[in-house]
Each structure stands twice: as structure tokens, then as C-alpha cells.
């Protein structure tokens, strides 16, 4: 496990298989929470993660596929789409500064 400085994060990508449902919901929710903090939030299929993503959020069941698809990107895995402690920590770190465990 390593850490990423929250200040280095300009783009978060929520990765999921279809990029149609739950990842869109989470991306939309995070976009609203982080819109005043200079962070772009997008969603993308696991197989098409943008090169300029600074941090990837994904369901724990997809984490291995994400790491294989984007081996050099920091990944935070979550278990539930809304209110997951791992995601809340990312939001808090970006709002208040600090490091994110990945």
C-alpha cells in the first residue's frame, strides 16, 4: 500500500463495466461534492480508462481488472457505491488536504 497526495489529484475516474449505472451515479455525486475543489470527475469502462486519470475509484470486484488495464494508476476500491468509507476518505482528503491510501 502506498499513498498519493490529494493535492496532486486533478482528475478522478470512476471505473465500471458498463459505465451506465452505478459508476455514473457515483461520478455525478462526487462531481457535485468536488466541483469547487478543482477536481474533474468522470466515469469510464474498465477497458478504456483515460490516460490523464490521477486516481481511479472502482468496485472491489473490478479492482483487479482495473489494475491490469491501468497498471501505473493509483486505485481505490470500494464495496458499496454510496457512503463507502474508502470513498469518503478520498473526498475528505481532497477537501481538507492530506494523503490518500491506494
Amino acid at each position: 500500500m502506498s499513498t498519493v497526495a490529494a493535492s496532486a489529484i486533478k482528475k478522478i475516474v470512476v471505473a465500471c463495466d458498463a459505465g451506465m449505472g452505478s459508476s455514473v451515479m457515483l461520478a455525478g455525486h462526487l462531481k457535485r461534492q468536488l466541483k469547487n475543489h478543482g477536481v474533474v470527475v468522470e466515469h469510464a469502462p474498465v477497458s478504456a480508462i483515460p490516460d490523464d486519470a490521477d486516481l481511479i475509484l472502482t468496485n472491489i470486484g473490478l479492482a483487479d481488472r482495473v489494475r491490469a488495464s491501468a497498471p501505473d494508476k493509483p486505485v481505490v476500491a470500494f464495496q458499496i457505491f454510496l457512503g463507502d468509507p474508502a470513498v469518503e476518505k478520498v473526498v475528505k482528503a481532497i477537501k481538507e488536504g492530506g494523503a490518500i491510501d491506494v
Partner: protein, 154 residues
């Protein structure tokens, strides 16, 4: 804003009191409603069942958001949502009981705002309860579309 959303979630795409014996039947009911309103081709229903088996779309607070796979995206004719409130809670596995499904057909990003609204409803236990217990189609739609403005001024 509301024009776009009216297009996404029409009154005729909302059903209250639907019977579903299990999760598959519930997902199929959502898919068939999307077919009925002309949002997807028939084959999309199977893609929704596949997606639900891979990873549950249960979002918490008795709500699931079934949708197709990436491969099933080609079967989407237009972005639309379909909402079903079931007559009885449906066992969704892992202890989850689903009362309300928001079926999703999407090619683009048009539904991002309404899903972000739904996320806020689900993170607010009182509004989530109001959503689960709504008995009128108009009330359901209003609850799903209510919050963008509040967040914008927060």
C-alpha cells in the same frame, strides 16, 4: 433542465405495485418497461440480467438500478429511465431487499444529473423512506428530480 429530465423519466415509464417473485423477474420487469417505452431493443433485457449477475446494482436503502452491459449498449435506442415500485420487497441477495428499481438505458451522459439526485436521496434516510413509500407516480418523479437546485446553492 426539467425538459431534459421529463424526456428521461416519463410518467408512463413509472409503475407502482408491480409483482416480482425474485430478482430476475424484477430486472426483467424493468427491462420490459424500457422496451415498452421504446428506449431499448428486446435483447437489452438479457444484457440487464447478465449485468445484474456479474455485480449487483443494489445501491442501498432498498433501491437497485438495473442496466445493461457495455456490450448491450448497442441495443439502446435512446437515453431513458424506467421506475418500478414493487408490491412486496424483492430478495436481492446478500441480505438486500429491493422495493424500488430504476432501470437505466443510456448511450450518453444525459442521466448523470438525475442519478446524482438519486444518490443524494439515498444518502438521506428521510427522503429515501419517502421514495420507498410514495404511492403516486407524480410524487415518485418529484422525489427523484428534486435536488439539483439545493445542491447548487450549498
Amino acid at each position: 433542465m426539467s425538459e431534459t429530465r421529463d424526456g428521461l423519466l416519463a410518467e408512463r415509464a413509472v409503475r407502482i405495485g408491480v409483482q416480482a417473485a425474485d430478482k430476475d423477474a424484477a430486472v426483467r420487469a424493468c427491462g420490459e418497461l424500457l422496451v415498452e417505452i421504446g428506449a431499448v431493443e428486446d435483447g437489452y433485457v438479457a444484457a440487464m440480467l447478465v449485468r445484474e449477475q456479474e455485480i449487483s446494482t443494489y445501491m442501498g436503502e432498498g433501491v437497485a438500478i438495473p442496466h445493461g452491459t457495455n456490450a448491450g449498449r448497442a441495443l439502446v435506442l435512446r437515453d431513458a429511465l424506467a421506475v418500478i415500485r414493487f408490491a412486496e420487497p424483492v430478495d436481492w441477495g446478500d441480505g438486500a431487499q429491493v422495493v424500488l428499481c430504476v432501470g437505466i438505458a443510456a448511450v450518453g451522459e444525459g442521466h448523470l444529473d438525475i442519478l446524482a439526485d438519486l444518490a443524494e436521496v439515498l444518502l438521506d434516510p428521510e427522503r429515501a423512506e419517502a421514495l420507498r413509500s410514495a404511492t403516486e407516480i407524480k410524487d415518485l418523479i418529484r422525489l427523484l428530480e428534486s435536488d439539483g437546485e439545493v445542491e447548487a446553492t450549498a
